[in-house]
Symmetry: C2
Subunit: 206 residues, 2 copies
DNA sequence: ATTATAGGCTAATTAGAATTAGCCGTCAAG
DNA sequence: CTTGACGGCTAATTCTAATTAGCCTATAAT
């Protein structure tokens, strides 16, 4: 990892813990193992570091999103994946989404950073809503739409189904962000939630 | 309103928008209409203002919580309230909770402030989780527990029902915090969500 | 070999922001 | 009527933190 990359990495960690305004460039430098003025060999200003992070992770997200079931674009093509969907598969989808958001090094720090900056910057607010609400809900709307058409699930508004499927996952995610010790309990709750969800909507007589 | 109260009020507004670290005492003073040094006639320090706000709103919350259906303590006594529960009543409970959290002057600013400070102060993290997750979910768990016992609702884990009832409301709340223009859409989604929820769990044949 | 560049350092500089010092007017209690 | 506390103000003061200046070394290309 180049020094420039390490600066961005450590800065992201700090920004996600304390917010932009409360991180001093000296702390970033310390974390990297250099002195504060040396940062300016790589970035014009503190703000410049922040902007670079946003840009970089935005890019990473766009690359990864579709492969993890977040972004709505190509879920139609995944239809065949759901031909033999089962309760266990549904649980895996939910848990994986949760654990990915919670543990992926970039996702989790980025989400926390956006959490802390969301009210000051309308662009970041939009980005947050897109990544952690609109995109996942749209993606799942497509999934449920397919499942309903295939008669795997009862007739119901797939958008509401997606909202109901995703919201507990998101809510528990924010709880775990505040208290990582809750993770085990959260994963259990998600599992029960999805079993119940499946029993509410699923038609399969296992 | 005394000057001291006005200081706390304006400070809360600013803290909820930009976070503690990015609000200058001069701004608070400006908002109140006095000069920065005069603040120190009322508070020992900037931190002291912050602490006073936490204390004050914590008090307010404890007073109000039970009357709005957030705090779990006395919901058992409200059992009779749910004797003739209907879909419309359920929708009203959900909408009211949402709109109270979103619009109550104190609740909404306090929530945003906690959002911005949650990762730096474990006490605030706990407070956030209590007020916006544990308490409402417990309260609703009690409601659904009663409704299940009364055979108004199908047999199901009331804790999961509460999680499923509340999470979409909470999730949409955070969306509206970032983008107030979403409110109308969010209220509609909540309504559909609850209708669907009722049709999933309710036994009533309207 | 020489030199230019990248990237590091120490020591200013600048700027901004919290807090303190010390003064002043008002008003209510004696 | 006078005094003391309350609450405001201006002008320091003190700190902190971002940024700039200017120097030094290693290394890689000419």
């Amino acid at each position: 990892m180049t020094t420039k990359e390490r600066i961005m990495d450590e800065a992201l960690t700090l920004f996600s813990q304390k917010g932009y305004g409360d991180v001093y460039v000296g702390e970033i430098a310390d974390a990297v193992g250099i002195k504060a003025p040396s940062l300016y060999k790589h970035f014009k200003s503190k703000k410049d570091i922040f902007d670079a992070i946003i840009e970089e992770i935005g890019k990473r997200y766009e690359e990864q999103a579709s492969s993890i079931g977040i972004n709505g674009n190509n879920s139609m093509e995944d239809a065949f994946l759901y031909l033999d969907i089962s309760e266990e598969v549904l649980i895996k989808i939910g848990k994986d989404l949760f654990l990915y958001f919670l543990h992926d090094g970039y996702m989790s720090r980025f989400r926390k950073m956006l959490t802390l900056e969301q009210f000051r910057n309308p662009d970041l607010a939009k980005l947050y809503t897109k990544q952690f609400f609109t995109d996942p809900v749209e993606y799942q709307t497509n999934i449920f739409s397919i499942l309903c058409n295939m008669e795997k699930f009862k007739e119901a508004d797939p958008k509401i189904m997606a909202l109901q499927f995703y919201s507990p996952i998101y809510t528990l995610l924010t709880v775990c962000d505040r208290d990582p010790k809750m993770e085990k309990k959260a994963v259990k709750l998600i599992e029960y939630h999805i079993r119940q969800f499946n029993s509410n909507y699923g038609k399969a007589k296992k």
